[in-house]
């Protein structure tokens, strides 16, 4: 097996340069690559295009990189809950491409799967369809959407082995597996890095072939956006 372990986030992201295109896993603040984001803020890499379902909140997630003006463009499906994002968008400092969530997920999957384009019904008849090829299948109209790829995919898993096999937990899986497929270099940070052979092959969600670098993350905050509970 190939050992892909790197010592930490700084080493993992050392060659991400200005103007790179990144994919970042996560849904809201759930399953985001916290360590890689912190390392990018420290490194100060600028002009980034970030493909991510959401844009974090003001003081966490991608919001940290927005605050330091490191992001040139966001490609997302939903970008609420972030005042700094709104300010930069309205002032023209930040470009935003809004994409239906399922189309975003499938475009990323297609990028990883070697499918240059596909037809989807989502967005037909809306402004999302502007400039796109339309075709009818089974009496229903569909839009042609193209694949998405990235220079680097930053993903977060619960557990991983040193060969890059990943296991996710709960709904922290979300965009992480497809983004892992679509990065030229995929960097996985995990809560628990184990030796090769310690993960049952039956339990692997993302096979190590998609992962180029993996490291043991630390100090996970795992912030909760909407803490909702019930009384016993």
């Amino acid at each position: 097996m190939i050992n892909k372990e790197v010592s930490n986030a700084d080493e993992a992201i050392h060659d991400i340069t200005d103007n790179a295109t990144l994919m970042l896993g996560g849904f809201g603040l759930c399953g985001i690559p916290e360590n890689c984001i912190a390392a990018l803020v420290k490194k100060g890499t600028k002009g980034l295009t970030c493909i991510s379902n959401n844009a974090g909140v003001d003081d966490f997630g991608i919001g940290l990189m927005l605050k330091t003006r490191q992001v040139k463009k966001m490609i997302s499906s939903y970008v609420g809950e972030n005042a700094e994002f709104e300010r930069q968008l309205l002032s023209g400092e930040l470009e935003v491409d809004l994409i239906p969530q399922g189309t975003l997920a499938e475009r990323v999957r297609a990028g990883g799967a070697g499918i240059p384009a596909f037809f989807t019904p989502a967005g037909y008849g809306t402004e999302v369809a502007e400039g796109k090829e339309v075709r009818e299948f089974n009496g229903k109209m569909h839009l042609l959407e193209s694949w998405l790829k990235a220079d680097f995919a930053l993903v977060k898993a619960w557990k991983g082995d040193k060969s890059g096999n990943l296991v996710f937990k709960g709904t922290a899986r979300n965009f992480n597996p497809v983004m892992a497929m679509a990065g030229k270099i995929t960097i996985a940070e995990v809560e628990e890095l184990v030796e090769i052979g310690e993960i049952d092959p039956n339990q692997v969600h993302t096979p190590g072939i998609y992962v180029q670098r993996i490291f043991q993350g630390n100090d996970y905050e795992k912030r909760i956006e909407q803490r909702t509970t019930r009384i016993k």
């Binding site: 759930c30 399922g102 997920a105 967005g123 008849g125 809306t126 999302v128």
Partner: protein, 220 residues
């Protein structure tokens, strides 16, 4: 009397069929889950990758890695399953989710829905709404019949940017239950308790089809 949000959710719960998979949007649709009768077995889908959404957790069971599409902490149930965002929308797009219930700002008489963008206001994004409305066979909209300023939200044509076209099958508002007919028009099925047909007419800009006596909704 016009229904409150709970009333709308209770009425929509009556539309839920046994043995179905359902995606509930944020707001009133989420409340529907509380009023589905116990003998009706359904599975709720959350587009961030969960089938079988359980109730909110007790304080000590809160898990940051387990949220719904509204980013609220939730739980799993016996028989729940977890998957990626791509697979989640594959099951939506593939027509495996039977019913989508969502909120709207406007619905047109041919079933167009607008619920993602108001010109001049900060656009937050469509999230999964465009995928859901383009894919589900059955779409029920939960909303107020009129805006705060009193303008009808059931229109001949939507004035706001569209989320999807020809997709809404039924609308449940604080005033009425209406079917969107395949050839266009809102067919009035039921009135909220104490609300007259005249009031509904006055609040509906789109074509309203009234056939015979219109019964009152029955809500516990």
């Amino acid at each position: 009397m016009a229904l409150d949000k709970i009333g709308i959710a209770k009425r929509i719960a009556q539309e839920v069929q046994d043995g179905t998979y359902i995606n509930l949007g944020i707001g009133i649709p989420t409340l529907v889950a509380n009023f589905i009768p116990e003998e009706i077995n359904v599975v709720l889908q959350s587009e961030n990758g969960l089938l079988g959404i359980g109730p909110f957790p007790e304080e000590e069971a809160v898990d940051a890695d387990l949220i719904n599409a509204g980013k609220q902490t939730v739980t799993t149930l016996k028989g729940s399953s977890l998957f990626s965002s791509a697979e989640s929308f594959e099951m939506i797009r593939g027509g495996h989710v039977d019913l989508t219930i969502l909120g709207a700002m406007e619905v047109s008489e041919n079933g167009d829905i607008a619920n993602w963008k108001i010109p001049g206001k900060m656009v937050k994004g469509m999230g999964g709404a465009m995928d859901l409305v383009a894919s589900a066979d059955n779409i029920i909209v939960a909303m107020q019949h009129t805006s705060r300023s009193g303008a009808s939200k059931l229109l001949k044509e939507c004035s706001l940017p569209i989320t999807g076209i020809n997709c809404v099958k039924k609308v449940v508002t604080d005033l009425a239950v209406l079917d969107v007919l395949p050839d266009g028009g809102f067919k009035l099925l039921e009135r909220a308790p104490g609300v007259s047909v005249e009031e509904i007419k006055a609040a509906t800009e789109g074509t309203l089809i009234i056939d015979g006596e219109i019964p009152e909704m029955k809500i516990d």
